[in-house]
Symmetry: C2
Subunit: 196 residues, 2 copies
């Protein structure tokens, strides 16, 4: 069956969904192509290097989705604290909708494959950097000095990432909401003390 361009995106989307749910190693190429609805030949056409290239494309796609989401939330949020809360709320809703089977679309793959698999690790690092930038800009908008904002952004992103794992294990959105609320309070508290 001839490979047609329309199948590339469905293959990547199916890979993102499956990797997020069950990880990279457990997911077979046949499972991906079957879930995508694409003919088997198209997989080897688009991804001649096999699973690593699908993994890399999936991390890039998932990273781009995260960045789009966080940027949209940041644009609407009044402050970083507000951004943390709205992001946690959204993640908790997504988790609940998947009955806590979905988590971060890139974390599991990275924990399985980094740092040995270089293309996947590189894609993961780019996704992190873009997300950190958005949060850092929001912290600067709050009034934090650039170097503080850079360091606090690492904390903010780490905290939500870790809370997503706790939420999955607890099968509850509470760790996400609690983490975002408490970090938001601490950030607001520090801004006030610096202003005061």
């Amino acid at each position: 069956m001839p490979a047609v361009p329309k199948h590339r995106k469905p293959i990547i989307d199916a890979a993102v969904t499956l990797f997020r749910r069950q990880g990279y190693s457990k997911t077979g190429l046949n499972e991906i192509v079957e879930a995508s609805g694409a003919p088997k030949g198209s997989l080897y056409y688009y991804f001649p290097e096999g699973k690593t290239s699908i993994g890399t494309a999936a991390i890039e796609e998932a990273g781009a989705r995260v960045v789009t989401t966080v940027q949209e939330l940041a644009d609407k949020a009044a402050s970083t604290a507000d951004l943390l809360r709205s992001h946690a709320k959204l993640l908790a809703e997504w988790m609940r909708a998947s009955r806590f089977r979905d988590g971060c679309p890139i974390t599991t793959v990275l924990l399985e494959m980094a740092p040995e698999n270089r293309p996947i690790t590189h894609a993961g690092r780019e996704a992190y950097a873009a997300r950190l930038d958005i949060v850092q800009n929001k912290l600067v908008a709050d009034g934090f000095a650039e170097p503080d904002a850079q360091r606090l952004a690492v904390l903010c992103v780490s905290a939500l990432q870790g809370a997503l794992i706790q939420a999955r294990v607890d099968q509850s959105g509470t760790p996400l909401r609690t983490t975002a609320d408490e970090l938001g309070i601490l950030l607001e508290n520090r801004r006030q003390s610096e202003d005061g």
Copy 2:
């Protein structure tokens, strides 16, 4: 070859090491038994239910190690901020020693297997709860009220968990140290503002 009791612990230890490095799905039973130095027959003797029971035992063992480590650090630490810093320092050293191939001994397995696999999810939840308790007690010792301490402990554990993922992807201990330092500053800041 007859199974002897001495092989149970080496099998679990080998499973912890392999799961931490490459995840659960990628690790085969033969690889575990080979790394453990135990005869193949002993694996089926100790773990007649196969991989799930090894996964559960590995999470229990890894969880117990984390709890022992965090309790030792908490006993020595002057405050929660101090505990966060010393834990981050230790994790960064371990990461560096493994050339950033090792991460949290339980996270990868949980992200692959929770919540579908109930025994593994349950073991993960117990490990989290024990770790949260230690941090919560330290926050109470700092002077935080019990309900605040409970919520802040969720943030502290989430932040270090998430930072461990960033450290692995960046192949650097910096995200761990930055996260712990910044969260420590925020916690001290809030204590001072509550005292003042």
